[in-house]
């Protein structure tokens, strides 16, 4: 699937949904699904393209969410400004994490990223004067585009879709540009890349910082859409794992992978929770078990992720009527 047509189909379908569907529950699902896809794609910039697997990206997501929420509630600034401030803060933190990636490799880097997100969790839940502590921050609804107070979910779909397409284009750039090829070399073998004149350290820092900033943008929009920021959710390891999991399931280091992966796990999770998550006797947690088994099966069948798996199938059996 080197072509972009599957992505065009995917995004076009998403854009068509609000025209046909009026159901608020479905639209809500679509918005969150697209947001998780965008966040996974932001993670993919560092984890997939630069090969710097982070399990602390919730830190950047939370920074974006808190920046938008706090600037909005305390100083009544526009969430758009909050979004930019969040992205700037995340860029700075991303540079620090990126610098660490030049000292720590493999599992040590992963541990450092988890630790970083946990430090932010402690700060956000204890620094009551700034963040209201563990109670979380409700985001006030102020109608208007500038204040992102949009009641119509269909508008939200298109708003998030703009972000989604932007992220997809960034991934395409990373697939086909000079910098993208150089990052691939760093991911494959850093020393060999250095020996060929690739400025590996600088590229890694830039990729991680960009990934952090984009994740913060997703966090800011999410906070604005959901309307409440809970430190134990936005800084959780669970959330970090979700970004990573969606990307790996969909196809790490592929432009469309994160979106497919996020679609898959979000729908699966929602469906299972709706059907098996009832409070009926003795099956409170059963949906998690089914969910876990489903993930294992998917990784067994398509260890490289959905996008490479589908691509391989298409190559092996070309559709009738196509030129050989």
């Amino acid at each position: 699937m080197r072509g972009t047509w599957p992505a065009v189909v995917f995004f076009a379908l998403a854009a068509l949904v609000p025209v046909v569907v009026r159901d608020a529950f479905l639209l809500d699902g679509l918005i969150l699904l697209l947001l998780w896809g965008a966040t996974a794609a932001a993670w993919n910039v560092a984890g997939g393209y630069a090969g710097q697997v982070s399990l602390g990206h919730a830190a950047f997501f939370g920074l974006g969410a808190y920046a938008a929420a706090l600037l909005g509630t305390r100083w009544t600034l526009s969430p758009w400004i909050g979004l930019l401030v969040g992205a700037a803060l995340a860029t700075v933190c991303g540079c620090i994490i990126g610098f660490l990636s030049n000292r720590l490799r493999g599992p040590y880097f992963v541990l450092a990223t988890i630790a970083f997100s946990q430090v932010l969790l402690v700060v956000a839940s204890r620094w009551r004067a700034l963040t209201a502590g563990s109670e979380g921050v409700p985001v006030p609804f102020r109608p208007g585009f500038w204040t992102l107070g949009i009641a119509d979910k269909r508008v939200w779909v298109y708003l998030v879709l703009v972000l989604v397409v932007l992220l997809y284009l960034i991934e395409l750039y990373l697939e086909r540009s000079r910098r993208g090829y150089q990052l691939a070399a760093v991911r494959e073998d850093e020393d060999a890349a250095l020996s060929l004149g690739v400025p590996a350290q600088r590229l890694k820092v830039a990729a991680i910082a960009a990934s952090a900033a984009l994740t913060a943008v997703c966090g800011a929009l999410w906070a604005q859409y959901v309307g409440f920021v809970d430190p134990f959710y936005v800084f959780s390891v669970d959330l970090s794992v979700r970004f990573c999991l969606a990307t790996i399931l969909g196809g790490i280091g592929t432009p469309l992978g994160p979106f497919l992966g996020a679609t898959l796990i979000t729908t699966l999770e929602t469906y299972l929770r709706a059907h098996f998550g009832g409070i009926g006797a003795g099956r409170v947690g059963i949906y998690l078990i089914i969910y876990g088994v489903a993930l294992i099966v998917m990784m067994r069948v398509a260890p490289q992720g959905l996008v490479p798996w589908i691509g391989e199938r298409l190559r092996r059996r070309p559709a009738p009527g196509t030129a050989p």
Binding site: Y181, E188, A192, S195, L196, G197
Partner: protein, 240 residues
């Protein structure tokens, strides 16, 4: 003036001195062979010249400019390329993409880099493998790939670590011819080689290292007859 100048390089690892006060100059267009038994410090010397390892003393200069202390990617961009003894292709990328990454150090244009990469693959005899994943190549083909990749960075000086090591006998003449051609085209080469027949055939001058020290430096027939070199290789019994 010399193209590459190595002066007083000493490199220690804990209690072991891998390079002790090694100095030599390489003239532009010269092909210098480096020989020595295992553990004599040949690869360490390459690590130091290419910037992967910092020496404890001494310095390396390229056309008079200091290389020592610069990171390896800078050293490459300044014009010193290397291959690795233990081959390191980008296994997940295609052969042509491997070479392209070298070419992208000199050009910003991806298409131009791809054309350059294909030309170089043609030159090293890997053209028909261009679109295969690098992991599918044999050892001999990997050597060629590393050579093409290094050449793509348009070096002034090329450091080759074991051109024929681990390569099947039939591929050796082709690789040797390739090195000869590069030399004829004016490239300055430093070649580590275990195969004496190969090195005496291509090199104008040979450096011999033993236990981290330079023990001989001169034309191939002089060096291979040098008493200390023969001792180092075969033991004292054969030196009489």
């Amino acid at each position: 003036m010399s193209r590459l100048s190595v002066s007083g390089i000493t490199k220690r690892f804990g209690g072991i001195t891998a390079n002790r006060d090694i100095s030599f100059d390489v003239a532009p267009g010269e092909l210098v062979g480096i020989i020595g038994p295992n553990g004599s410090g040949k690869s360490t010397l390459f690590e130091v010249i290419s910037g992967f390892s910092r020496p404890d003393a001494g310095e390396v200069r390229l056309d008079g400019g200091r290389l020592t202390g610069l990171p390896p990617d800078r050293v490459c961009r300044l014009g010193v390329a290397r291959t690795f003894q233990k081959l390191r292709p980008f296994a997940g990328l295609t052969v042509v993409d491997n070479v392209m990454i070298g070419a992208l150090t000199r050009t910003r244009d991806v298409r131009h880099a791809r054309t350059r990469a294909r030309d170089l693959l043609d030159r090293v005899g890997l053209a028909e493998k261009a679109d295969a994943p690098a992991r599918t190549l044999s050892t001999g083909q990997r050597k060629r790939l590393e050579l093409a990749r290094a050449l793509a960075t348009e070096p002034q000086v090329l450091l080759l670590d074991e051109v024929t090591g681990g390569v099947d006998q039939r591929s050796i003449p082709g690789l040797v011819q390739l090195v000869r051609d590069l030399h004829r085209d004016g490239l300055t080469l430093l070649v580590i080689e275990h195969n004496m027949r190969v090195i005496t055939a291509v090199a104008q001058r040979i450096l011999a290292l033993y236990l981290g020290e330079k023990i001989a430096d001169g034309p191939p027939d002089t060096v291979t007859r040098d008493r200390r070199v023969v001792e180092a290789y075969l033991g004292q019994a054969y030196a009489q």
